[in-house]
């Protein structure tokens, strides 16, 4: 009953000041609307980019290198030695992951893990007097299907044809266009070791990523080993796991187990992911400022109402309304404005998202135009709504406390 009385008075006071109420409600609505739309855009683009990273590369890569150079034997033998040796040259060793077959086998036995030994290198692909530098990936097509989305991005041919064709190579569409190299054409592939092979194009893929489409070629690992003159060598073990977010921890475990430098996709893209954080902070700061302005609007209107209504507050208290009732009346006004602003803001957000969903852009580094990636989940709406309500309640709380502190006798004495 008390709540109904307070709410009735609050609603009447808001109705009595329609214009001010409308302005402050619209302020909240704009804040919520832009918050949700911006948040959906930020979150959507972030997820889209992360998904692209995950699609085109393994979650974890074990490399044939170490984070720190091995210490010289003399330093191990005499750590407190009196003589200092300088300009020591580390011993050269044969590159490649030792016993990679056993490593892959052990990893593959673990549930949810797909592991593939690969040989990565560089080569020149030549066709009809044109050259293109390419990253060569010597792979196992059976496993590559699970590690990346190259197979699903094939425009012509397939990765599996590498297994059936002799000396087959799969190239990106960008390279295909650049060299005029089509399906079943024979390209000349020259390795840094000076070896030259004639290879047949058995597949053309298109990921939309310029770097991959113009600069990456796939072949069987045994062909790559011959081409790069690294027989029986794999310099990468590429791993996919069920939960990509767990890649960092799992990579650390593998590195401590095997010693080889093991990079998670997060480590490889650390700079990129860091940019997301900075971008989010900037965006949410701006949207937060919009909400703060809206909150000040609520604070302003309720403070004004409290000032104007001091006499009414006094008379309500003389009737027997408690200070808490008075506080509630003004808090309820803030909640009303916040709630209505929240619902209007959600409506505005839906319109904005609808409009943004039709915008097509070309992302630098990607070949295709694409629609703005938006994440239209309930999370954004929930956070926007909560932000509005909390701002409204906090903004109303201060003037409400002031209203509750009114001493009716001071007002009535002054008014009579």
């Amino acid at each position: 009953m008390f709540w109904r009385v307070s709410m009735g008075i609050a609603a009447a006071q808001l109705r009595h000041r329609r214009r001010q109420t409308l302005v402050s409600t619209l302020g909240v609505a704009l804040g919520v609307g832009f918050f949700v739309a911006t948040s959906a855009l930020m979150s959507g683009s972030e997820k889209d980019m992360v998904q692209r990273l995950l699609d085109n590369a393994p979650h974890i890569t074990i490399k044939d290198e170490f984070r720190e150079a091995a210490p010289q034997p003399v330093f191990i033998a005499f750590p407190q030695g009196a003589v200092t040796l300088t300009n020591t040259k580390p011993r050269e060793y044969l590159r490649g992951i030792k016993n990679h077959g056993a490593l892959v086998e052990e990893l593959s036995r673990q549930p949810g893990v797909v592991a593939e030994a690969a040989l990565m290198g560089q080569a020149i692909i030549r066709y009809a007097s044109k050259d293109a530098s390419a990253g060569i990936a010597g792979i196992d097509p059976e496993k590559e299907r699970f590690l990346t989305t190259i197979e699903s991005n094939m425009q012509q041919g397939s990765l599996m044809r590498l297994k059936t064709a002799s000396q087959g190579i799969v190239i990106g569409q960008g390279m295909s266009i650049r060299l005029g190299l089509g399906m079943d054409d024979l390209a000349t592939v020259v390795s840094p070791a000076g070896l030259v092979r004639r290879m047949k194009v058995v597949g053309i893929f298109r990921t939309g990523n310029l770097l991959l489409d113009e600069g990456q070629a796939y072949m069987l690992i045994k062909d790559a080993q011959v081409l790069l003159d690294k027989p029986f060598i794999a310099n990468r073990v590429r791993i996919k796991i069920t939960d990509p977010d767990a890649a960092e921890d799992y990579a650390a475990q593998l590195e401590s187990r095997w010693g080889y430098r093991t990079e998670s996709w997060q480590e490889v893209n650390r700079d990129f992911l860091g940019l997301f954080l900075v971008r989010s902070i900037i965006t949410y700061s701006i949207v937060g400022a919009i909400m703060a302005v809206a909150a000040f609007g609520i604070f302003n209107i309720i403070s004004t109402v409290v000032m104007e209504k001091r006499r009414d507050i006094a008379i309500l208290m003389s009737m027997g309304f408690r200070a808490g009732d008075i506080e509630r009346i003004f808090l309820v006004q803030g909640v009303f404005v916040g709630l209505i602003g929240m619902f209007l803001g959600w409506g505005l957000a839906l319109i904005l998202l609808q409009m943004l969903g039709t915008v097509e852009i070309t992302v630098p580094g990607l070949m295709d135009t694409q629609k703005l990636p938006l994440e239209k989940g309930p999370f954004q709406f929930g956070v926007g709504g909560a932000f509005a309500l909390i701002s409204a309640v906090v903004a109303a709380w201060f003037p409400a406390r002031k209203a509750a502190a009114v001493r009716p006798v001071d007002i009535i004495r002054g008014a009579t």
Binding site: R311, M317, M319, V409, T416
Partner: protein
């Protein structure tokens, strides 16, 4: 109505009220006053004599610096502000010189607000009692209007109806006719006389109006914050 045998409804015992400002201002000093059930008391005195201050103390709107205020024999000295508000809600009704009606609400809603806050009656009963009160003061046809659509006299009658909403034992009025023309002043004066004489309510009215003061069987006259005379007719 003689109230000599009735139980005290409000008692002030040694009440002093000093405003603690840069230079302390004494509003009332050493007031001993017993108001009995059913009494109609006028409070008079020159401007600044402490009439309104005395009324606010009687109505628990203000707290004494010294002394005690007893309502129905119970000392209210240690009451919290919420408990004082509850006493005002259930037992006291105020009428001020200015009607102080809430402009956003209809006449009927203004009258029913105290009942809604008290919560003793359900919605239909509150509506019925509100309409009955308005009818008592012959303004039931104005129930749906807003205060600014009424005349001064009508507004003051609405204010009296609101003061009676929770059926209080005591009505405290501060210059209730001070802002009215003569005709409306007589009407309101008659209402207060009836409240005491016919309904047996205690009415305490601060007034400058000599006719109003003379209509009350008891008059308390203040000078410089002290009771100068307390006479019964």
């Amino acid at each position: 109505m003689s109230a000599g045998g009735e139980a005290p409804v409000i008692e002030l015992k040694g009440v002093t009220r000093i405003l603690q400002e840069a230079v302390p201002v004494t509003l009332v000093r050493d007031i001993d006053l017993v108001i009995r059930r059913g009494e109609f008391v006028s409070v008079t005195g020159p401007s600044g004599s402490g009439k309104s201050s005395l009324l606010y103390l009687l109505g628990l709107l203000d707290l004494p610096t010294e002394g005690r205020v007893l309502i129905d024999g119970i000392d209210t000295s240690g009451y919290s502000s919420d408990r004082l508000a509850d006493v005002r809600l259930a037992k006291l009704g105020f009428v001020f010189q200015f009607h102080f009606l809430l402009p956003e609400f209809t006449v009927l809603h203004n009258v029913t607000l105290p009942m809604q806050r008290l919560g003793r009656l359900d919605g239909d009963e509150i509506h019925a009692r509100g309409m009955a009160l308005l009818k008592d003061f012959e303004i039931d046809d104005q129930a749906k209007k807003r205060p600014d659509q009424l005349s001064g006299g009508q507004r003051q009658r609405v204010a009296v109806a609101r003061a009676l909403a929770n059926d209080p034992a005591v009505i405290l009025a501060d210059e209730p006719t001070g802002n009215l023309d003569m005709r409306n002043s007589e009407i309101v004066q008659g209402i207060f006389a009836d409240l005491a004489a016919k309904q047996g309510r205690t009415v305490i009215a601060v007034t400058h109006d000599k006719d109003f003061a003379d209509a009350a069987p008891r008059n308390v006259h203040l000078v410089d914050g002290r009771i100068d005379s307390d006479t019964r007719r």
